[in-house]
């Protein structure tokens, strides 16, 4: 049932129903967790006061693992078993990973998604990411001294495709997290930034992280954050700067790095030199290779020459996004820099020159994404005062299906605001054709071979007709997480088929259940007690929501309807005091079902009110 508004404007809901929700920035290089505490969104530090958790997982003997700084420190000594920058592998086959030959892992090219062979067995990127998420979950639970984390908002690069999003969601599930929403990193940054600066107007968020680049245009209007357009490159980031510098240094010295150890050592040295060049004008890249020490001096100018092609690649993406949105660079009121790689002076200068204005950097670029996610998480958990913010995000890449000749028919265009749905009719190719194979793809190219394949399914049982007489309506529905559902229906006969697009390598629920059983995430000893507490909280919230709905709009109900509702309320209230969580769940469900018509009527009234009697400049 849909009941509008729980509490009076500005008033926070009943403290007993407050839920703990966190925002997680699962980054290529490092990850953070943040939450709203005492009305302020802030990053949660670990026991030693560190907010940043390096996104590194080292698999040790006996099934143990080290996560974060300890793992990172071992990467050059134990490169085969220490996974860093795993985000670049999420939802990717080996062939999709640019420069994989230079990475020091034993790759296992499984169908769909690549995996890494470690001393603790073969690990998928989803499992590695889940380790990082589980560590952050633990940190959050310790911070709140609570085992009842209600849920998390996890950020992903805006440019992540459906496969990469699904992989991220699977990792969260594996880590025992309830995903309230996946939101785009630049959007999260804009939320944190916009709320902090009370900004209005059109902003560009330039987000260059360790492994991904995103550019998003957002319009901020009184608490509404509308993504106008987004673009970028899901395989371009600080790691590429490191790789370019490492290669250059080896060439300068006439040396080669052949083993995994050597490759990792020279990349680590390159990253240190790059970071040093943020404040100094010369650095020396030093490390030890098998045939002796390597020491190569590098000036900032030399590094900038190496970085230029990569920065130009970013700016080309910026230009495409502006063109897409039919916006000129003068319309942009501010440029926000996000991501550790925007600390590189050459990046700041290039962005500033391109937009003709100095970029805004007043929030910590490492923390801003997690903070924005925490604000949204707090809202989605129902804790925020009513109507604080609303995110209207878009789908980053077009969705379509394959038609004759390996061509793509686009159904949902990129930069469509989500949630969205669109239908298109297709027909058969041959007389008497009784089945149709549907191939769902994502991307901007004309040929299926150039796009990402998301799913295949079949519609069977079409009554035989001449070619062209059959009408198959294919409906794409993209939810608020940016994930896709596809349905196909033959309109003459009513034959239907539906698929939730789950990439073939995505984890099925049984896999997740098995991994949980194998002790992946923390065991839940008191699952029953937890279910009971959750059921009671749900019941309390439903009672509260229904009562305030009645207080506002009881006139929409007849006396009989009102009486029926009162019976359901009384039932729920009495059952909520019992210890039977199944009974409480059932009562809550009955209450929800009984208020559905009322909810629809209230929605209707809400829509009418939204359109009537308020002037444009109020919005």
């Amino acid at each position: 049932m849909a009941l509008l508004q729980i509490s009076e404007p500005g008033q926070s809901p009943d403290p007993h129903t407050r839920r703990i929700a966190v925002g997680i920035d699962l980054g290529t290089t490092h990850s953070l967790v943040a939450a709203v505490r005492h009305g302020v969104a802030e990053c949660l530090p670990d026991a030693r006061g560190r907010a940043i958790l390096p996104s590194a997982v080292r698999y040790l003997d006996g099934g143990r693992r080290a996560i974060g700084a300890d793992a990172l420190a071992a990467q050059a000594d134990d490169p085969l078993n220490t996974v860093v920058s795993v985000k670049r592998l999420m939802g990717r086959a080996l062939a999709d990973v640019a420069g994989h030959a230079k990475l020091p892992y034993r790759f296992v090219d499984k169908p769909g998604m690549v995996a890494i062979d470690t001393r603790d067995g073969v690990k998928t990127p989803v499992e590695v990411s889940a380790e990082i998420l589980a560590a952050l979950r633990q940190r959050a639970e310790d911070s709140f001294d609570s085992e009842e984390l209600f849920g998390a908002v996890i950020t992903v690069p805006a440019y992540f495709d459906d496969a990469q999003r699904q992989a991220t969601k699977d990792a969260a599930k594996l880590a025992g997290l309830n995903v309230l929403r996946l939101i785009n990193e630049p959007t999260a940054a804009a939320v944190a930034y916009g709320l902090d600066n009370a900004s209005e107007g059109l902003y560009a968020v330039f987000d260059l992280g360790g492994g991904t680049f995103d550019i998003s245009l957002l319009r901020l209007t009184q608490g509404v954050f509308e993504v106008v357009a987004t673009g970028g490159d899901s395989a371009l980031g600080g790691d590429d700067f490191d790789a370019a510098l490492a290669e250059w240094a080896l060439a300068q010295a006439g040396r080669t790095a052949t083993t995994a150890h050597e490759r990792r050592a020279v990349l680590v040295a390159a990253r240190a030199a790059k970071e040093g060049l943020t404040n100094a004008t010369t650095q020396t890249l030093t490390c030890v290779l098998g045939d002796g020490p390597l020491s190569v001096p590098v000036t900032r100018a030399q590094f900038e020459a190496l970085a230029k092609p990569l920065i130009d690649k970013c700016l080309a993406a910026v230009r495409r996004v502006l063109r897409d949105a039919k916006i000129s660079r003068e319309d942009v009121q501010g440029v926000v820099l996000v991501g550790g790689s925007t600390r590189t002076p050459a990046v700041r200068v290039a962005v500033g020159e391109w937009f003709g204005r100095p970029p805004l950097t007043n929030l910590n670029p490492d923390e801003v994404v997690a903070v924005g996610a925490a604000i949204q998480a707090n809202q989605l958990a129902g804790n925020a005062a009513d109507g604080e913010i609303l995110l209207l995000d878009v789908i980053p890449l077009s969705l379509g299906i394959e038609t004759m000749g390996g061509l793509v028919e686009r159904i949902v265009e990129r930069n469509s605001t989500i949630p969205t749905a669109k239908a298109q009719d297709f027909t058969t190719y041959q007389d008497g054709q009784t089945a149709m194979a549907l191939h769902v793809v994502q991307g901007e190219r004309e040929l299926v071979a150039d796009c990402r394949s998301l799913a295949r399914f079949e519609l069977r049982g079409i009554p035989p007709m001449v070619a062209g007489a059959v009408r198959i309506r294919v409906t794409f529905e993209v939810d608020a997480d940016g994930l896709l559902n596809v349905a196909a229906k033959e309109l003459n006969s009513g034959v239907e088929a539906t698929i939730t697009v789950k990439p073939s390598y995505g984890l099925v629920d049984e896999d997740i259940a098995r991994m949980l059983r194998e002790g992946f995430a923390k065991a839940d000893d008191d699952a029953v007690a937890r279910s009971l507490r959750e059921a009671r909280v749900d019941a309390d919230r439903m009672l509260l929501a229904t009562r305030s709905a009645l207080a506002a709009d009881a006139d929409l109900l007849s006396q009989a309807e009102r009486a029926e509702l009162e019976v359901l309320l009384a039932d729920t209230e009495s059952v909520a005091r019992s210890d039977d969580h199944h009974a409480i769940d059932a009562a809550v469900k009955a209450l929800a079902a009984g208020t559905e018509a009322f909810a629809a009527a209230r929605m209707n009234r809400g829509i009418r009110q939204a359109l009537a009697g308020r002037s444009v400049d109020e919005i």
């Binding site: 049932m1 849909a2 009941l3 509008l4 729980i6 809901p13 309230l180 929403r181 209007t221 509404v224 509308e226 080309a316 230009r319 495409r320 063109r323 809202q379 989605l380 958990a381 129902g382 109507g387 609303l390 995110l391 209207l392 469509s416 605001t417 989500i418 949630p419 969205t420 749905a421 669109k422 529905e477 939810d479 608020a480 749900d538 919230r541 439903m542 929501a545 809550v588 929800a592 079902a593 559905e596 909810a599 629809a600 929605m603 209707n604 809400g606 829509i607 009418r608 009110q609 939204a610 359109l611 009537a612 308020r614 444009v616 919005i619």
Partner: protein, 172 residues
């Protein structure tokens, strides 16, 4: 208000081509603010379903009303002259000649300046067509004429997209 209400009614706007974009945007934000699933995050799956349906419907209408060409096509359909672009490909001869001339110019253009000149030409032709379309929809309503203009503009926009790709390709 019902989900199957037409786009103009859903947004509380008169059924005409002329439209104030800022007003449309403000109405859209206002509607989403009262219907988006996030507004009902704490109220269970059933509430989410109702909100999702409305939110999708509002976005669909907004997208269609926002773009002048889809708005015009929608008006033609409401007035009994659907565009049916696939079965209705007969275009006036002079229009086709102009299209061919543009295609030729695009094939030959290999500098920023040449592409910019072509883009300016196409843009002028496009705004001219839009002006005629506005007349056929609002001032002297003639759905059949309007539908013809819409079909012509579909060609023009297709061409502009190709032109844009060429300009991007030159810069990358």
């Amino acid at each position: 208000m019902r989900l199957d209400e037409n786009d103009f009614a859903l947004f509380g706007l008169p059924e005409r081509f002329a439209l104030d974009r800022a007003d449309l945007d403000a109405r859209w934000r206002r509607l989403q603010a009262s219907a988006h699933p996030d507004r009902f995050a704490a109220e269970g799956a059933a509430a989410q379903r109702v909100a999702m349906q409305w939110s999708v419907r509002i976005n669909q209408a907004y997208r269609r009303l926002r773009e002048p060409l889809t708005r015009a096509a929608y008006l033609c359909e409401l007035r009994g002259a659907p565009i049916a672009a696939q079965s209705n490909t007969a275009m006036p001869g002079d229009f086709l000649l102009q299209q061919m001339a543009w295609r030729e110019a695009l094939d030959q253009a290999n500098s920023d300046a040449a592409l910019a000149t072509l883009e300016a030409q196409v843009r002028a032709a496009e705004s001219d067509l839009f002006a005629q379309l506005a007349v056929a929809l609002d001032e002297r309503p003639s759905p059949a004429t309007a539908a013809e203009h819409v079909r012509a503009l579909m060609f023009v926009q297709r061409f502009r997209a190709d032109l844009g790709e060429r300009i991007d390709a030159l810069h990358d």
